[in-house]
């Protein structure tokens, strides 16, 4: 990339070194160390063989040995199940939102039909209602639909999140209408107009929405905690929270379990960093 040498040159020549800049940099680095330390310490402990309580002198440099992970995957029967369950939940919810939020967002943004504004207002008005308000009815509804203790029961309430519809509508509203009109005149069916004209233009918003949804439901805790009962059905967050109760005395297993829950999202973030930051700007991500 050509931007790199350019900005580097500017950094070396155009800016005179000032003491203020040094202070600023040291503050920023100091905060970064404090911010990253808890996660780093978790990883360092996970990568150092610990079978009992951790040592009183903290482990600051990992030994890069994987004994704890061996016991985690060997001794806890279900850890792989949990990872798989979390993957199914996160992917399932994301797939739903990518497809149907764009579809609904398109209808609300570009098509006019009786009741549109009223329906959208109703959708929007629930955006502010916290999940904690609906938790109990959600539990009762899931019970009567036979969704208890199933991954489908974790996924379905997540598909009812209207944020994605709102995001896609805002985005699709900014797209030009001429191409749709032209396609219609050429005899394209309505689903075809959506699939071939609208969908390809939605990619940036869909990427942000996909990342937001995946991270959110991979990390989700309260609802899976409530609806899942048997250990083999737990998602990763629920399972890891239970490790603490189950392996009271073997901290190595707990550390490696927490590490394996955090690591996929960190790798995901490092790989798609640009989209994450873009997603925050679009209002899709919190933190």
């Amino acid at each position: 990339m050509s931007a790199y040498p350019l900005s580097r040159r500017r950094w070396l020549t155009a800016r005179r070194p000032r003491p203020g800049r040094l202070v600023a940099l040291s503050v920023l680095i100091g905060v970064a160390i404090v911010a990253l330390f808890p996660m780093y310490w978790l990883f360092a402990n996970a990568l150092t063989p610990i079978t009992d309580t951790p040592p009183l002198t903290p482990i600051l440099l990992p030994a890069f040995q994987f004994d704890n992970f061996q016991r985690l995957f060997g001794g806890t029967r279900y850890y792989l199940n949990w990872m798989l369950n979390s993957l199914v939940v996160a992917l399932g919810t994301t797939a739903w939102h990518i497809l149907f939020d764009a579809l609904a967002g398109y209808a609300f943004a570009k098509r006019s039909f009786p009741g549109r504004d009223l329906l959208f207002a109703v959708l929007l008005s629930t955006l502010m209602v916290p999940i904690h308000v609906t938790l109990i009815p959600l539990y009762l509804i899931s019970r009567s639909l036979g969704l208890m203790d199933s991954l489908l029961g974790v996924i379905l309430p997540g598909t009812a999140n209207v944020f994605g519809i709102f995001l896609m509508r805002q985005y699709i509203k900014t797209l030009p209408t001429e191409m749709e009109e032209a396609a219609r005149i050429d005899g394209c069916s309505e689903p075809r107009v959506f699939w071939s004209i609208i969908l390809p233009l939605c990619k940036p918003a869909m990427a942000a929405l996909a990342i937001f949804t995946f991270v959110r439901y991979w990390n989700d805790f309260l609802w899976p905690l409530i609806i899942l009962n048997r250990p083999q059905n737990y998602t990763l967050t629920v399972g890891v929270a239970n490790l603490q109760a189950e392996f009271m005395t073997d901290w190595g297993v707990i550390f490696s379990g927490a590490t394996m829950a955090a690591l996929p999202m960190i790798i995901f973030f490092l790989a798609f960093q640009k989209y994450f930051i873009e997603g925050v700007r679009m209002g899709a991500l919190k933190g």
């Binding site: 800049r21 600023a24 009786p114 990390n219 890891v240 999202m265």
Partner: protein
């Protein structure tokens, strides 16, 4: 019949496009919202269903008076946690974004990534890492105290300290959204404002105070609202750092809802408490809408 056919030909696809979303929305959001409202005035049992309580506000009376008014204490704890956390998040986010702003592009990207990294892991795991830091026996916080020759502290088991420890852990978690949004807002302020101020002899601190801070007001407001709502809903961090609640000293609104609803199966009372949470959130949002009307333009 022909009317219906014509109607469907014109609007059928529109309704078909929103149907899947609408279906799950009605079952898993709209119906639960309405039902939650009803249950907060009912005594609900899994075997007999709901029965209206009398007087109709009975669940709210129980919610606020049961167990010596622990819910009042939980609201208090939540408000203290919110006040400290939101103030810290906004201040730290503003300072970090301001310090990042003049840096070169790649340094800015680097710091934003470093600050954002912990935010992609779940609140539960973040809470766990802080529980380790604050472990009374082998935690890093007490190690630092030992190094300084001070007595160890029971960070998470002393009822006088536990809430402060949980709050401290939140304060020390960098507000990633604030850094990114402040940084974006600062980037969109026209350069000419600063050039004019410089001609008038304003130093960087004065420029920051009189140009930057006023012009990012709407971002500040938005962040205050989302952080306030998120702090009102604090659960995972408390659940995992202080599982026992330490003599109720770390009960929050949502831990109360969880305990009443899913430990004691007291659905009516838990719903009443959830309604209180909702009213608090709605009040914050209403204040935001009012303030947004007097928004700045530039």
């Amino acid at each position: 019949m022909t009317n219906l056919r014509r109607f469907l030909r014109r609007h059928g696809w529109s309704y078909a496009f929103i149907l899947p979303s609408l279906l799950t929305f009605v079952i898993f959001t709209l119906a639960p919202v309405i039902w939650a409202l009803l249950i907060s005035f009912q005594k609900y049992s899994l075997t007999r269903g709901g029965q209206w309580v009398s007087p109709f506000y009975q669940n709210f009376v129980v919610a606020f008076t049961q167990l010596n008014g622990v819910f009042v204490q939980a609201i208090g704890n939540t408000l203290i946690y919110t006040l400290v956390t939101v103030t810290a998040h906004i201040t730290i986010g503003l300072v970090l974004a301001s310090l990042i702003q003049p840096l070169s592009n790649w340094l800015r990207t680097f710091f934003r990534a470093a600050y954002y990294l912990p935010a992609v892991t779940s609140a539960l795991i973040i809470g766990m890492t802080w529980a380790y830091i604050f472990n009374a026996q082998w935690g890093f916080a007490n190690y630092l105290l030992r190094l300084a020759g001070l007595a160890p502290v029971r960070w998470l088991s002393d009822p006088d300290i536990a809430l402060a420890s949980v709050t401290l852990s939140a304060v020390l978690t960098v507000p990633a959204t604030a850094v990114v949004l402040f940084s974006a807002a600062m980037g969109s302020i026209p350069r000419e404002y600063y050039e004019a101020a410089e001609l008038d002899g304003a130093n960087p601190i004065q420029q920051w105070r009189h140009i930057t801070v006023p012009l990012i007001k709407s971002t500040t407001l938005y962040l205050v609202v989302i952080y306030t709502i998120a702090s009102f809903e604090v659960f995972e961090r408390v659940y995992v750092m202080v599982p026992s609640g330490v003599a109720n000293s770390t009960q929050t609104i949502v831990t109360q809802i969880y305990n009443n609803g899913f430990k004691d199966l007291n659905f009516g009372v838990a719903s009443a408490q959830a309604l209180v949470l909702f009213v608090m959130i709605a009040a914050v949002a209403a204040v935001q809408f009012r303030l947004l009307r007097s928004d700045v333009e530039y």
